[in-house]
Symmetry: C2
Subunit: 299 residues, 2 copies
């Protein structure tokens, strides 16, 4: 018999979504940062997202509840940003043991509210359930958002020879940033308003896992220029590509806009790096390319 | 220090939502079966719902995965029905231990799909997360739905002297029905299309807990006619009112339509009982009324 640990998340999701019906109003289904729905609005698509943080996996019992709340919401906002959109309504499901202190849960909610308010979202509903003793708490967040139809960025429309960029520096998030990161909403909005962003996602599992997903979705191979990867202090290249939980933007643009984009970016976001780390290739999904100074991964 | 087990779900939710901002587009916020959002559509409101089932609380490890999947989706559909609406898109978050068999998860998904398809909903996205060993699995479902503006039924617009009705028979759900119940979508749609339903909710925790919620929201007291409560086979009145997981509809109508409603109902739904079990009173939220053959609860 096969167990979940044997097949990994991507293969599992592939299996599960195979049988799903596709409604007429479903513009982008499972596999992107958000589902995209045509609800009959002339100018906008609706974005839908669900995500969760699990005690012992995404945070520790001793972590500040306020920070856990911030993180739970910020992860979802980051996904809306990665589609070129903005959040609207958020729903919160708390699965907590009965012996959890009420004050902990109140602090958790205050952290969620603070993050939601910061990014213009409303917590409009929720659900609570108890949990058998000894089980890990689960905080599941789902939400709706909106994206202008002409600003929607998927992860499957990158094309060969386009440049791959990342915001910020990568790696080491678990040491400092994963509980208090700022979703790149402002940056993503600026990008889709000003440049032809052909594909985009947020970096939740690290470039080593996430870039192959983007390239695969787009039917492309990819190069990474190992020397160019922006590493956080104390991180080597392998930490920068593999640690995950960066919540930076990974996206592609046609090569001809690169110079202008980087110059304008420096003016608008002077304290946040924007780095070209490689390019998409025509070798098809799963293909690898080798070169001096380039790192490659199974795609 | 206070713990969750000391204060109960209703008091917890009341605490948590106190600080929440209220967006302009939020028509009905936390406290009803679904959140109701004005997304700018002329005729319809959007409904949002999140819910979860937890291993060891809502189902057992040995329960058929297909049935667990059906139940997880059916609970959410039941909430859309209780607002007078219909489901549209559903998102699935699975938090499962790594040593769960892949086939179990596939069966779970097949059960979810079957229920979604039966009620015209699409599973349009999801998320999976692993869980520390020994923890209970959590299946969190969230979704969007639609309700015609003139057919929206809340739980806070019941008025004194209106009749309280329930569909079906109550109690004993845990023995037979809680895994395979049919959400009362068809019945709810018929009700809101044909009668002035003033308040409605679905019975998830049993009349003894749910009716006080409805009455409280509506600022009313209530009577129950103990003799009238329709009990499932093998259930006494206390099981019928207290067992929970009935997933029947609990709703109110003005007394003057009762006769016509019951007569027409028998023609349209000949195999499903519709029973007047009491009435709302003017004594205000939390007030109790006593009478011969009436049962009362803390409201």
């Amino acid at each position: 018999m096969n167990y979940l640990k044997d097949i990994g998340e991507d293969a599992l999701i592939k299996k599960l979504i195979k049988g799903l019906g596709k409604g007429e109003d479903l513009v982008v289904g499972p596999g992107d940062d958000c589902a995209v729905i045509d609800v009959g609005d002339a100018l906008r698509y609706q974005l839908l997202k669900t995500d969760c943080v699990v005690e012992g996996v995404h945070y520790l019992p001793e972590t500040s509840a306020h920070k856990v709340g911030w993180k739970a919401i910020a992860r979802v906002i980051s996904d809306f940003a990665a589609m070129g959109g903005e959040p609207s309504q958020l729903l919160v499901t708390l699965v907590m043991p009965e012996n959890q202190a009420v004050e902990y849960v109140e602090q958790l909610y205050r952290g969620m509210e603070r993050c939601a308010a910061e990014f213009g979202a409303t917590i409009s509903g929720g659900e609570t359930s108890s949990l058998p003793a000894g089980s890990s708490a689960v905080i599941s967040i789902s939400g709706t958002g909106w994206v202008n139809k002409n600003q929607l960025v998927r992860r499957d429309e990158g094309r060969p020879n386009e440049v791959i960029l990342v915001t910020g520096k990568l790696g080491g998030s678990i040491l400092e940033k994963h509980l208090s990161f700022t979703p790149r909403m402002k940056e993503a909005r600026w990008l889709v308003e000003n440049y032809p962003i052909t594909s985009m996602m947020d970096l939740s599992d690290g470039v080593a896992k996430d870039l192959p997903r983007l390239a695969n979705s787009s039917g492309c191979g990819y190069f990474i220029n190992k020397e160019a990867v922006p590493c956080n202090m104390g991180c080597d290249i392998s930490a920068a590509l593999g640690d995950g939980e960066d919540y930076e933007l990974l996206f592609t643009v046609p090569a001809e806009v690169l110079e202008s984009l980087q110059e304008e970016w420096r003016g608008v976001f002077p304290t946040l790096r924007l780095t070209a780390i490689g390019e998409l290739t025509s070798e098809g999904a799963g293909a690898l390319s080798l070169g001096d100074g380039w790192e490659h991964f199974r795609s």
